[in-house]
């Protein structure tokens, strides 16, 4: 296979994209289209990962990694599963009111871990469904894909999810109803609001998006103006599908910015934080960054070099307020390619040169912590996470060809949702 770092930029990016994509072939159930949350034995399906997978199948067709018919068939099976699976909201069913439980049994599709009916993860699933429907524009299976996707989107009762309030809750459980925490501050939920607002059947009220915006914090940090959100993934998820260049809502009009520029600003902050390395973690610098949600060494405290260090397991880490335990997500730098190729590639090459073990089988691990020297080469997350692979494959494609952005913007519901959220601009 050769050393990754010896490849040209284009060859490196292509190879890592294919490595990321192949996660879906390795960890999908071909019978129902469900995809495992992680590569670890016994992992259930995460519906969000399915959303990323459905989007990535179109990339595979374009790159010649999958036959179009085979990809369409895989998509169709997935959509058939979500159409036919129980929607009664029971504790062991698949979903309710058009939404889905966050984690499902890979084989039966039944809810596992008493998890919540997840609004954001349903939105990511729907984004994948709509991407596939927009891409597969032919006859036969492709025609059925479009019909099923439309029906799945239309049956989601977003208004129910508002539970009589202006904003949406993060989820619902059959055992206790709506979770009593909502979305505070800017984060990855833009796509949730856009899809909820675009619905022709049970749309979110427009006031909800404005109310959410009233919790935003526009900050000047390290001489950078930014709509603040700590974890890097929150600045990327919605952008995997929506091309925010040239469009802006009322908030961004007021700030003379847009969400694309904002992600660039956030990336600059992450790099600056890496260089300042305020908590003195090993190896942090301008080319070693990527603090986000992901796997971590596990909860616990240790004395290292005379310092009291506290580590976390799977957690949403953020910049600059923390939490930060010296763990980075090795995939994160490359996933910022569309926002600045130099920073993404320089950082990724530096990482691969210094710690080649973070990318086994051309696929980045979820978390890496060189500060934790209890293990000689630092701590490395075992296996792979589906979300990381999907986001990376999509962001690379957007950087190279803009395929997902182009495909998604063809969906009329997306345009309606963006307009109802107050977006105006070039492609709307």
């Amino acid at each position: 296979m050769g050393d990754l770092t010896e490849l040209s930029d284009d060859a490196l990016v292509n190879r890592l994209q294919r490595g990321a994509f192949s996660y879906f072939l390795d960890y999908a159930n071909p019978e129902n289209g469900l995809v495992a949350d992680t590569s670890r034995s016994g992992s259930p399906c995460s519906i969000a990962v399915v959303g990323f997978a459905l989007s990535c199948y179109t990339i595979a067709v374009e790159n010649g990694w999958l036959e179009r018919a085979a990809a369409a068939n895989l998509v169709l099976k997935t959509l058939q599963f979500f159409t036919q699976s129980p929607q009664d909201g029971g504790p062991d069913s698949t979903g309710y009111k058009g939404f889905y439980y966050h984690f499902l049994d890979m084989r039966t599709g039944a809810r596992v871990w008493q998890c919540e009916l997840s609004l954001i993860d349903t939105a990511l699933l729907l984004a994948g469904i709509l991407t596939a429907a927009s891409y597969f524009n032919g006859d036969g299976d492709e025609s059925e894909i479009r019909a099923l996707a439309d029906a799945l989107y239309r049956r989601v009762d977003w208004r129910w999810a508002q539970n009589g309030t202006e904003t949406v809750s993060q989820g619902w459980k059959p055992e206790c109803g709506f979770l009593h925490y909502g979305w505070e501050g800017y984060n990855e939920a833009t796509i949730l609001y856009v899809l909820g607002l675009g619905s022709p059947t049970f749309p979110l009220t427009q006031k909800g998006y404005v109310s959410w915006g009233s919790t935003y914090q526009w900050e000047n940090l390290s001489d950078t103006d930014v709509l603040y959100s700590g974890p890097l993934f929150t600045h990327l998820f919605s952008h995997a599908w929506i091309d925010f260049r040239g469009i802006r809502d009322a908030f961004m009009r007021e700030k003379h910015s847009d969400y694309f520029k904002n992600t660039k600003a956030a990336i600059a902050l992450h790099r600056e934080y890496g260089e300042r390395n305020p908590h003195d973690f090993k190896d942090y610098n301008r080319n070693f960054w990527g603090i986000t949600a992901g796997d971590g060494p596990s909860d616990g405290a240790l004395q290292l070099d005379g310092r009291d260090r506290r580590f976390f397991g799977y957690m949403s880490r953020g910049v600059p307020y923390g939490p930060d335990d010296g763990t980075i997500a090795p995939w994160a730098m490359l996933a910022t390619l569309p926002f600045g190729a130099d920073a993404a590639l320089t950082g990724t090459r530096h990482l691969l040169t210094t710690y080649p073990q973070v990318c086994p089988n051309d696929r980045f691990a979820s978390g890496f912590n060189p500060t934790l020297t209890a293990q000689p080469d630092g701590w490395l997350s075992e296996g792979w996470y589906g979300l990381d692979q999907g986001l990376l494959a999509m962001m690379i494609e957007n950087y190279r060809t803009g395929l997902i952005w182009e495909t998604f913007r063809k969906c009329s519901y997306v345009k309606v949702g963006l307009k109802r959220a107050g977006f105006e601009g070039e492609w709307l």
Binding site: E116, E175, H180, W218, R310
Partner: protein, 498 residues
């Protein structure tokens, strides 16, 4: 007693408590006979009542001060002073970690003498009680009446059998801990802010119900002193009044100290079991028990209004808020004002004192001071401390005021770096496109002091441009404030759109 015995004798003076009682509620006190009609009758000798009584007396008014318990109110007896005294000890204990990180590990493990911690707390309280002692108040010509007061009419109060007539009155009866609505908790017994400072032994296991300021302060302090503390909070975050970043830093800081954090969790019941107290909790339908030796309940405060017979004086209530007042702190009886916790949303000592001052001026000197014009900073005294003043970002956004926060992380402030106190931030909230300061949020080891600079700055109307030019000592934690101002100046030098 030999000299060596004196040197090793307990530091707690047995007469401390006697001095304290003499200052705040003398045992053989005889209420005076009322001297005709009082210019100003004040019900409650807490922070609001004391400010009112002293300032009115100094202006020559005839003042009656009525207190049902002890001079000083919650702040001195059950709140600010005792809690900060214990927090000081807890900080010393936590310094062990810092000692190691700065290359000076302590040669021996510090040990705790809880009796001495509490004795020190009482000495501190005795010392502070001197500021407003019965003797000092009497020296100002204030007539002090101990006992419960109730209105008998629009211009008359009754203290036991004594009628006391007034031209103007002030209700400053404060607030008390909210009672629980948790089945079984009354039976097993619990502590509140009114009782926790009277305990004589450190609870081995302590549950704190409520993640407001006092709950968080006590959870962290008792954990640092050695209790195994679990804090249970109904909401998804601590300190609901504060912004998310501040609350999350506190949450992680408490977890680092070893506090077991149970957010988003409701206590639904309590029971006794084999010498322990068991709290029954529910988190998203998952039930679990928390077994402890003591329970501290800190779920808010309710105004003390029930015994005042307010109807007799034509004074209305404002729902749960307490006594209904207008912006001048006047009640629905034009001759009666209210101040402090009994009517204010912000139930803090400084808010009580400020409102007491306003109410007195408005009542006695035909003042036109408005409580809405007060800019009141507040602080939660955890480590790091969390302080705020002025407008919150979400309040500005809801009012469509364009707001921008200039943020400096403490880990970028030189003095915080040298001192290893680099947790937290300074955020100055500015009206966008201008240098007008709307508010500030500060998380730092001494945020309670830093926020006072912002209070001075804001009350004088100084903007960020002028603030950036004010010379500060270097290095200092307040350098964070200057750095934020400098960032604002640099920001304005650039065109608004890039």
């Amino acid at each position: 007693m030999s000299m060596s015995d004196k040197l090793t004798a307990p530091k707690a003076k047995p007469d401390d408590e006697e001095i304290f009682v003499r200052r705040v509620r003398p045992e053989l006190w005889q209420n005076p006979t009322p001297r005709g009609i009082y210019d100003f009758a004040i019900v409650g000798a807490g922070p609001a009542g004391l400010v009112a009584a002293e300032s009115a007396a100094r202006l020559g008014f005839r003042v009656a001060l009525i207190e049902r318990n002890r001079i000083g109110g919650n702040s001195l007896n059950l709140g600010s002073i005792p809690s900060k005294s214990i927090i000081a000890t807890a900080r010393t204990f936590a310094a062990k970690r810092k000692a190691e990180e700065t290359g000076a590990p302590l040669p021996i493990e510090p040990t705790l003498n809880f009796g001495e911690v509490m004795a020190r707390m009482r000495r501190v309280r005795t010392r502070v009680s001197e500021h407003h002692s019965v003797e000092k108040l009497g020296g100002l010509g204030i007539d002090i009446f101990f006992g419960a007061a109730r209105f008998e009419g629009t211009d008359t109060l009754l203290i036991a059998d004594t009628k006391l007539r007034f031209k103007k009155a002030l209700i400053a009866t404060g607030a008390r801990p909210r009672s629980p609505n948790i089945p079984g908790l009354d039976d097993i017994g619990y502590l509140t802010s009114a009782t926790i400072f009277g305990i004589s032994a450190l609870p081995r296991r302590l549950a704190v119900i409520g993640g407001g300021p006092l709950g968080c302060e006590m959870a962290q302090a008792f954990c640092r002193l050695g209790s195994h503390v679990t804090i249970v909070q109904n909401d998804p975050k601590f300190l609901p009044r504060e912004e998310r970043d501040a609350a999350e830093i506190l949450s992680r800081s408490m977890a680092r100290d070893g506090v077991v954090i149970r957010l988003n969790t409701t206590v639904v019941g309590a029971r006794a079991a084999e010498g322990a107290k068991v709290l029954e909790t529910v988190d998203n339908n998952v039930k679990s028990d928390v077994e402890v030796d003591e329970v501290l309940l800190s779920i808010g405060r309710v105004p003390n209004v029930e015994e005042l017979n307010l109807e007799a004086a034509g004074i209305s209530l404002d729902g749960d808020q307490g006594v209904k007042v207008d912006d001048f702190l006047c009640t629905t009886n034009p001759n009666v004002y209210a101040a402090g916790d009994v009517c204010m949303e912000l139930k803090f000592t400084n808010a009580a004192e400020a409102s007491g001052r306003i109410a007195t001026q408005n009542a006695l000197s035909r003042g036109q001071k408005c409580q809405s014009q007060l800019t009141i900073p507040w602080c939660t005294y955890c480590d790091p401390e969390i302080a705020h003043i002025g407008t919150h970002v979400w309040e500005a956004r809801q009012q469509s005021i364009p707001i921008k926060s200039f943020t400096v992380m403490m880990h970028d402030v030189d003095r915080a770096i040298t001192d290893g106190q680099n947790l937290g931030f300074v955020k100055i909230h500015v009206e966008e496109g201008t240098d007008k300061i709307l508010g500030a949020t500060i998380v730092a080891s001494r945020a309670s002091e830093l926020v006072n600079e912002m209070s001075v700055i804001m009350s004088t109307g100084i903007g960020m441009n002028d603030l950036a030019n004010i010379v500060h000592t270097y290095p200092a934690e307040s350098g964070g404030i200057v750095l934020a101002a400098l960032a604002c100046v640099r920001n304005h030098m650039r065109p608004l759109s890039k």
